[in-house]
């Protein structure tokens, strides 16, 4: 390879002197490059850049600077930015250069734009005209560069402006233009999928293009589309297979080869697509067995690129429906990789193995010795990948050895990112396999914690406790463990995790750990045993040198000691207090940790007044106000044991903790403050709305002023004060729910304390009667013995090495054989389910449960095909809408240029519905003449077409009127769309001609709206037209405006404008799911919002009444009501579900909403609030 690059810096002077070849460089750029190569320090670099930037500034502002010089300035600016110096003053000139320069300059201008301006940069708008001009240019090169820049950066809002031009280019005679047009459309699809929905048919055409390059470009789109919904593209499997077959068979022109391998990257792309299509689909998979086999066979050449293809092929074979013969070949392939002396191949082999063991753990068994070798490999990357592999094959029997290996690795690793990542995995494993009886509940928590990692870490631990969703507590996974690590192993491993992970550790690791300790299991004794281990272990740790311990670890220790140190009867509480107090004196301890320590001290202070008084005395001079306050509280509590008992009661179970979520105890305070002139509290939505109203200029004269969408703020709003968080305060009985905790920083630390309070503590009497455990405080060290039999510690003794490895292997791979006894053919079977859910008791017992489930499954299936159904049904219903203009694209199995030319008419229907789909809104004129004369206000709903009459609909409201026409509208709630029905009444006796309705609404895909024309409306008659509307992005309210134009006399057109509002509520439909499905769905959703709402207390059952009221107002589906909690589900028409979890909380309804869509919960919450307020 070094023959590629031979010239070195010695050639530099020569280049400067002779301006030959490609290096025709003007002086300034030459000078800059020379200076850059001569730089020796950062300081010099800064000076040089400063000079350069000011010189450039001068040059760009000079009117005499030619375009040619400007091009050079751009390259210099690229250098400046590349070295990290801002040259933003040149951005506008880059756009100018693209606009005014001749070809090469123009290209550099575009290049500078794509390098300097990121997506969404406001200057990009200035580029639109230039792009438009160049797209229309007859000069191929100009069109080509315009398409290139469009495919890189383009303002989302301006896509409609260039879309038609780009689409035209799809049928351009030059392949390069077609290719780039496809790439531009792909970019559009990425940034604004709605805009290109209607050209799916053209993507198909691109796939069948006679030029292999164009076809290749279209694959990017298909990979994306198929990843999103594989089911919609199964019909293309044959095409992809045929293309791959021809590529593998060498049918492409020679210049597509890379080192004699035909279009390798194209092969890889196709293999990825095929594996997505074939996943969990036997019949589709069968179509590709042959070509996969061929690929495996062809790729025998000894070159890196063929291995890259093989790797992709192996992955595909293991992803699709299994075929024994292929699996065998693929496994052999992996074997070759793993055993290869080439280190890059070994790496790829390990990666493949990591992927494959999920399907077939036995494969790891075959390569165990290699894996062991890789574990001790000198290459960090290889080691790391091996650990990843081991993590995947962990089971109850080898977990101790694997965790040991991971910890060993971690001790020698100083890469922050790797530490965080791996420590998290160790903690996950440790919690997953801790000890027998707890396993069930632990596993539930695992599911919860893994899914909610992000969510939970943003909350404080006490909130975690509260939000342990009740859906999971009833699931008891059935699991049998032959051998499980014990308590001491668990505690010791977690100690290692805390010490190694240090303060890099993600917050949820300590949170989960503490929660495990606190919640415990059914068996009180076992819980206490574990807690005792922890106490003993921590006391030992604290007796040693504590200065190096991470803060998180100290916090965990102090919490545990505060809660459970009284379990250990052979330890003097005074000793515990002394150890904790010692920590307070340590300088390295942060004030956050001090708060934890003080909380712990407060809990165990009872009866030790003298020690505590000394302590609080010394702390009352602290600079930290929080500490000072706590010290004060500590003093009071230690003096008054009654108060102590009341504030920190021992023994109450944690779930009996009462939370006054309405904060009623603050009522007095609030009313006083209000009386004193304080501003009343406004919920976030209201605030947001007001903010938006202030900000948004109302440009529409005489139209409604409506709150702008909430979506823009919904994400930041996540931290809103509505979030449930328990504020602290020993004084406040530690359990009140503070609505303002999120925004206040004063009480930031208290969170932890409270949590500790009620209930994690063992009941007093149990603590007393608990069997005396005579464990020495160094019990931890004896831990190893129990499991010594199973656990083999590899002792690196040179002569014994091989044997050691064997031994290690047997301990690492134990349990794999049995688990995967199904081996190759059994691949279709999912890996043994770890979590088996037991049906909820009340459901399994009732027969209605099953019927409900079946009805759900049917509604589910219809839901999954919503899109097709929606467009399809609209199409069927709308025969008037012509489909003759639809561009029917042949679904040819391959590109013409590839030697085959097949046409099938199979997907005419798909195409047409896709075309219509883009328009989404179809207008149907239905003229009903003469039946209902005069009075428009009479029951217009009677005019609804028969098929709509039975559907739920709103009242008819008048939109607008003038002496000749009056318009009224009504909303009809269809299952798959909202129908906006507009009644056009002719109030005169004469005929009105050419009535055309035009409706526009930004938020509801206005681009696809079409006018509705009635040629002739008789006197006193009414015409009805519908708009089927969909809302993709939820907005609390959207306004539509429209005009109706008509002629009372020929040639004389009147227009009448109207407007109206639609709310999210119109676009919400019930989502029928069972409780189990709900639980599953809940876990998979990421965006959530919480808020307390008004509870309707009028009737007997407040929860039921409130939910019914919401159901009526918002078309929700009440899934289940259990005790004081209710679960409710709905979906947006376009498909996004929203789940609501309601809990009666004192006099309020605590509502927790979740949805995949960030803005949806906010909108629904808003409407719930309103619905309840109106009630």
């Amino acid at each position: 390879m070094s023959d590629v690059v031979e010239k070195t810096l010695t050639a530099l002077p020569g280049l400067f002197d002779s301006q030959t070849g490609a290096a025709k460089i003007t002086n300034r750029l030459k000078q800059l490059i020379k200076s850059i190569t001569e730089l020796t320090s950062k300081h010099e670099e800064e000076n040089l850049m400063k000079q350069e930037l000011s010189a450039m500034k001068e040059q760009v502002s000079s009117p005499n600077t030619t375009m040619k010089q400007m091009r050079e300035v751009m390259v210099r600016a690229m250098y400046c930015e590349m070295l990290g110096y801002d040259a933003s003053f040149t951005y506008i000139h880059a756009i100018k250069l693209a606009q005014q320069g001749s070809v090469l300059e123009k290209r550099v201008g575009y290049l500078a734009v794509s390098l300097f301006l990121s997506e969404g940069h406001e200057l990009l708008l200035l580029l639109v005209n230039t792009v438009l001009k160049d797209l229309q240019s007859t000069n191929l090169i100009e069109a080509c560069m315009a398409l290139t820049v469009v495919a890189q950066v383009f303002p989302k809002d301006m896509i409609p402006a260039v879309l038609p031009l780009v689409e035209d280019k799809l049928s351009h005679p030059k392949e390069i233009i077609r290719r780039k047009a496809v790439l531009a459309l792909y970019k559009f699809y990425l940034i604004a999928p709605n805009q290109v929905q209607h050209i799916h048919a053209k993507f198909r055409k691109a796939l069948c293009d006679k030029d292999p390059g164009v076809m290749t470009s279209s694959l990017h789109i298909y990979l994306q589309l198929i990843r999103e919904s594989p089911d919609d593209y199964k019909d293309l499997t044959g095409s992809f297979v045929a293309i791959l077959k021809q590529v593998v068979g060498g049918k492409l022109p020679m210049d597509f080869n890379y080192h004699n391998v035909p279009a390798p990257w194209l092969q890889i792309q196709l293999l990825r697509i095929l594996s997505l299509l074939g996943r969990e689909d036997q019949s589709t998979s069968e179509l590709m067995y042959e070509v996969l086999d061929e690929s495996l066979r062809r790729a025998e050449m000894n070159h890196n690129i063929t291995y890259a293809i093989l790797y992709e092929c192996v992955k595909a074979v293991y992803t699709i429906h299994p075929k024994a013969e292929l699996l065998e070949k693929a496994a052999r392939c992996i074997g070759n990789f793993v055993l290869s002396p080439k280190i890059n191949l070994k790496y790829l082999g390990l990666k493949a193995l990591t992927y494959v063991v999920q399907h077939d753990a036995k494969l790891a068994l075959q390569h165990q010795m290699t894996i062991i070798e890789c574990l001790d490999h000198s290459d960090f990357t290889i080691k790391r990948e091996t650990l990843e592999l081991l993590f995947r094959i962990t089971n109850a029997q080898n977990v101790t050895v694997i965790v040991e290996k991971m910890l060993d690795f971690l001790r020698g690793c100083n890469d922050e990112h790797t530490v965080i990542h791996l420590v998290g995995k160790v903690a996950e494993l440790a919690e997953k396999y801790p000890f027998h009886s707890l396993t069930g509940r632990l596993l539930q928590r695992m599911t919860l914690s893994r899914v909610h990692k992000k969510y939970i870490s943003s909350y404080k631990i006490n909130t975690n406790l509260l939000c342990v969703s009740f859906y999971f507590t009833s699931y008891v996974p059935i699991i049998t463990l032959t051998f499980a690590p014990d308590n001491s192993w668990f505690i010791q491993t977690m100690n290692d995790v805390f010490s190694i992970g240090g303060d890099l550790l993600q917050q949820d690791v300590p949170n989960n750990f503490l929660r495990l300790l606190a919640e415990g299991s059914e068996s009180k004794e076992e819980d206490d045993e574990l807690r005792l281990y922890a106490v003993d272990s921590y006391l030992t740790v604290l007796k040693g040198d504590t200065s190096h311990l991470p803060q998180r670890f100290l916090q965990v220790m102090s919490w545990v000691l505060g809660e459970y140190s009284d379990l250990q009867e052979c330890v003097d509480q005074r000793e515990v207090i002394r150890l904790l107090t010692k920590l307070l004196d340590q300088r390295s301890v942060t004030s956050e940790t001090r708060v934890w320590i003080l909380s712990a001290l407060t809990k165990i202070s009872e009866g030790q007044t003298d020690l505590i008084l000394d302590l609080s005395e010394s702390l009352s001079y602290s600079q930290d106000t929080v500490l000072r306050q706590q010290a004060q509280e500590l003093r009071h509590l230690s003096r008054d044991s009654q108060l102590h008992e009341w504030a920190l009661p021992r023994g109450a179970p944690w779930d009996s903790m009462e939370v006054d979520s309405s904060l009623s105890f603050l009522d007095g305070f609030v009313s006083e403050a209000l009386a004193a002139g304080a501003a009343p509290y406004k919920p976030p939505h209201q605030r947001q709305e007001e903010l938006c109203e202030e900000r948004a200029l109302n440009l529409e004269p005489y139209s409604f002023s409506l709150p702008v969408s909430l979506s823009s703020c919904s994400i930041t709003d996540r931290q809103s004060p509505t979030m449930l968080s328990v504020s602290s305060g020993i004084s406040g009985n530690s359990t009140e729910l503070s609505q303002k905790a999120g925004s206040s920083t004063v009480i930031l630390e208290g969170v932890k304390r409270v949590w500790g309070k009620d209930g994690y503590l063992p009941q007093k009497e149990t603590a007393a009667t608990a069997p005396p455990v005579d464990k020495p405080s160094i019990a931890v060290q004896s831990s190893g013995q129990q499991e010594a039999a199973e656990r083999t510690e590899p002792q690196p003794e040179p002569p014994m090495q091989n044997q050691d490895k064997q031994q290690l292997a047997s301990s690492l791979f134990v349990g794999l054989g049995a688990q995967s006894s199904i081996s190759l053919l059994g691949k279709s079977e999912a890996p043994p389910p770890r979590f088996r859910k037991k049906p909820r008791p009340h459901e399994s017992s009732s027969s209605s449960g099953t019927s409900e489930r079946s009805s759900v499954s049917s509604s589910r299936s219809s839901h999954s095909t919503t899109d097709g159904f929606l467009y399809g049904s609209l199409l069927e219903e709308e025969p008037a809408t012509s489909i003759s203009g639809v561009d029917h694209t042949p679904k040819s199995t391959t590109a013409n240029g590839l030697g085959q030319n097949k046409h099938t008419d199979g997907d005419r229907r798909t195409n047409t519905s896709q075309i219509l789909g883009s328009d989404m809104v179809i207008v149907r004129p239905n003229t009903i003449q003469d039946k209902y004369p005069s009075s428009v206000s009479s029951d217009l709903t009677a005019l609804l077409p028969p098929d709509l009459k039975d559907l739920p609909h709103s009242d008819v409201i008048s939109l607008t009127s003038d002496p000749s026409l009056s318009l009224a509208s009504c909303r009809v709630f269809r299952d798959e769309a909202l129908l906006l029905v507009i009644f056009i009444c002719n109030c005169t006796e004469t005929v009105i001609k050419d009535v055309a309705v035009q409706l526009t609404c930004e938020e509801l895909q206005t681009a696809s709206l079409r006018g509705n024309v009635v040629d002739c409306l008789e006197g006193r008659s009414t015409s009805v037209c519908h708009y089927a509307l969909l809302m993709d992005d939820p907005h609390t309210n959207v306004s539509f405006t429209g005009t109706v134009s008509y002629q009372t006399q020929p040639g004389h057109t009147n227009t009448l404008s109207f407007s109206g509002t639609l709310s999210t509520a119109d676009f919400i439909r019930p989502l029928v799911v069972t409780t189990e499905e709900y639980g599953k769905l809940w876990l998979s959703l990421s965006h959530d919002v919480k808020q307390n709402l008004k509870l309707l207390t009028a009737a007997g059952d407040p929860l039921r009444t409130t939910l019914n009221a919401l159901k009526d107002a918002l078309q929700l589906h009440v899934v289940d009501i259990i005790g004081s909690e209710g679960i409710v589900a709905c979906r947006l028409l376009s498909g996004a579900p929203c789940l609501l979890h309601c809990r009666v909380n004192g006099a309020a309804l605590a509502m927790w909403l979740r949805s995949p869509h960030p803005a949806l919960p906010d909108c629904i919450l808003y409407h719930c609030q309103r619905a309840l307020a109106e009630h």
Binding site: V4, V5, L111, S114, L140, A308, N344, T381
Partner: protein
């Protein structure tokens, strides 16, 4: 998906950088320094892939110049490794025996070549003739 492509010399000086995902200007220098350090620290017999934060780095050395590509976990490392070589072969074809200086003096053209090969972090063209065609046409027009 490809997140960025860097050309860096042994002294750690960036010769070309292209990001396919927005990275603030101020953070690029630190990222590049980290990346180079990670690659330089590795020995010849170690594999050409390194983990770096959420990315995998694929690097390849040509004389004093490193080409480093940051990719996501789901990308095929070896195919990117070969893509780098394909890129160098294209440069070599255009500059006839490319050197670090060629790249420095023709930063814009190297970018134009790269734009033909990778768009939005996806490999869009690997056929050498087709990659060079637009640039050659530009050169021809500039000459006339």
């Amino acid at each position: 998906m490809i997140k960025f492509l860097l050309m860096v010399n042994k002294q750690g000086q960036t010769r070309l950088s292209k990001y396919y995902e927005q990275v603030e200007l101020g953070k690029r220098a630190a990222l590049e320094a980290d990346v180079v350090r990670g690659c330089l620290a590795r020995r010849k017999e170690e594999c050409s892939f390194v983990e770096y934060k959420d990315y995998k780095l694929v690097y390849r050395q040509y004389a004093a110049l490193f080409i480093v590509v940051g990719i996501t976990e789901n990308e095929n490392e070896l195919s990117i490794y070969e893509l780098v070589h394909n890129f160098v072969e294209v440069l070599d074809k255009y500059f006839s025996r490319v050197s670090e200086l060629d790249i420095m003096f023709n930063l814009d053209k190297v970018h134009i070549i790269l734009d033909e090969m990778i768009i939005n972090g996806h490999i869009v063209e690997t056929n050498k003739n087709r990659i060079l065609a637009p640039l050659l046409a530009l050169d021809k027009m500039a000459e006339s």
